[in-house]
């Protein structure tokens, strides 16, 4: 019996720890007929370090957020650009397909074998005061998570405040920040419903955040070929789809918690002026991404079009 050591982060009740890892562990154990057993380990340090710890064989597999390593993982950010407007499940499947077809050859994940890609659900504005027009958010102190959120914040004219996610609760409570960009699930997970009683929901959300799941290639190499194939057979698109779906799940739970706690959910329609203004505000961001990855040797325009088409087709077929 071989132990496959998975490094994780985020609270135990996060979908990644509650659903994704246990499900994949079961798949792996079934596919290898019990010859490979998955063991999950926490407390390994900053999540950005997990990429390195897998590469150096301290753990065998893990997942992390691309935005934590600016400059290295530029291509997967294609999925984060505003305006895609699909669920995490659709985005995750499309991102995986695009990774296989276009991004893998650029070797951004040197030293790692990527076995899945996914996104969290659409990001919204959670705020202390209701925000129903773009004038109201101008100059407000908003905590942002970097990457695409910074670009959005700049266009909205907010005062950005950088802080790690666990500090958000206190900062909102004390009024250091007026709001935060985050997916709906954080109403439950970060308990935003207690401190940010207003959510402005642009239809389809404002942006997505992307993650990858990766494994140590040496670990795979040392396995019996049939076990290696077995592990890979329960990964890839299958794993990406399952992860995206699980992350959609926490958004649904967050939405329910928000409703139960009387959070003011401002659900805009496509036709509302605020939505229309948002769509014109984000014009050109896709193009900016294409230009930003010009040095990666990938047909970026074709890739992002492929990604968006796949995502929307998947969403419509759901």
């Amino acid at each position: 019996e071989t132990v496959l050591r998975v490094g994780t982060w985020l609270p135990p009740t996060n979908p990644q720890n509650e659903t994704v890892w246990p499900t994949w562990a079961k798949w792996v154990e079934e596919a290898t007929e019990g010859r490979v057993r998955v063991e999950v380990e926490e407390g390994l340090g900053h999540p950005k370090t997990l990429f390195q710890l897998v590469e150096d064989g301290v753990i065998n597999a893990s997942f992390s957020y691309h935005g934590y390593v600016p400059g290295r993982f530029e291509l997967p950010q294609a999925v984060e650009q505003p305006g895609l407007g699909v669920s995490a499940e659709a985005a995750s499947v499309a991102l995986w397909r695009t990774y296989e077809k276009y991004f893998e050859q650029a070797d951004e994940f040197a030293g790692l074998k990527v076995i899945g890609m996914f996104t969290h659900g659409p990001g919204y504005i959670h705020s202390k005061e209701p925000i129903t027009s773009w004038d109201q958010i101008k100059g407000k102190k908003i905590r942002i998570g970097g990457g695409v959120q910074s670009a959005l914040g700049e266009r909205m004219g907010i005062t950005p405040v950088a802080a790690p996610a666990p500090k958000v609760y206190e900062m909102l409570q004390q009024g250091v920040i007026d709001g935060v960009f985050m997916p709906m699930g954080e109403q439950k997970a970060l308990r935003l419903s207690e401190v940010a009683p207003n959510v402005t929901m642009i239809p389809g959300g404002m942006y997505l955040g992307s993650f990858s799941i990766f494994i140590d290639p040496y670990f795979l190499e040392e396995l019996d070929p049939k076990d290696r194939d077995a592990i890979l057979s329960v990964s890839g698109e299958k794993l990406s789809q399952m992860a995206g779906k699980a992350w959609d799940g926490i958004d649904a739970a967050g939405y329910k918690v928000a409703q139960e706690n009387g959070v003011n959910l401002i659900e805009l329609k496509e036709s509302d002026p605020m939505s229309q203004e948002f769509f014109s505000m984000i014009k050109g961001m896709k193009q900016e991404w294409v230009e930003s990855v010009a040095d990666r040797g990938v047909d970026a325009q074709e890739a992002i079009d492929y990604l968006w088409k796949n995502a929307r087709d998947y969403e419509n077929a759901k």
């Binding site: 600016p70 400059g71 290295r72 951004e108 100059g139 990457g147 910074s150 005062t159 405040v161 950088a162």
Partner: protein, 171 residues
């Protein structure tokens, strides 16, 4: 008082090591002062101009690393690290000296090997183009600095640190 006599009076080290200690501490002191200033400017900017200092967080992070590792060699060779001294009186003087020598060798070799790995990781990070979020500074350079200062700490410990153990107990 001239700078030379001031440095002479302030530092216990001998010869050129004095000036080295002064230079390192000067870097650390200036960076600490800047850390304080950056926070004040950032907060003031947020309220007065509704605009905070771009990248204040990452400047703080980089400054913290520069400051701490500028001081690390001096703190280490002076034997300044925190020691648990519950059973101090039980152990005799010669034994203390032998144990201190042992500890010094262990400390310098661990800092050396750690530095080697840190340097490799820095090069890897540079190869892959990892930069900071707002200012786009290659993080590998900071990590290389940490590696170099770790070697420096090892070197200081195995030379001046050990010299000091013998000089002190000879008194």
């Amino acid at each position: 008082m001239s700078l030379a006599s001031w440095v002479n009076s302030r530092y216990e080290e001998v010869g050129p090591v004095k000036w080295l200690a002064f230079a390192l501490e000067l870097v650390a002191a200036v960076v600490l002062f800047l850390l304080m200033a950056i926070t004040c400017v950032d907060v003031a900017g947020r309220y007065l101009f509704s605009n905070s200092l771009d990248g204040a967080t990452e400047l703080t992070e980089i400054g913290l690393a520069i400051m701490l590792f500028a001081a690390m060699p001096i703190v280490t060779w002076r034997g300044g690290h925190v020691v648990v001294d519950i059973f101090d009186r039980v152990i005799g003087g010669r034994m203390v000296k032998a144990l201190a020598l042992f500890a010094a060798l262990v400390i310098s070799s661990s800092m050396y090997f750690l530095g080697v790995r840190i340097f490799e990781l820095a090069e890897r990070s540079l190869r892959r183009g990892v930069v900071t979020e707002y200012l786009g500074i290659p993080t590998g350079y900071i990590v290389e600095y940490i590696a170099v200062m770790s070697w420096f700490t090892a070197l200081g410990m195995i030379s001046y640190g050990i010299y000091r153990i013998f000089a002190n107990t000879a008194k």
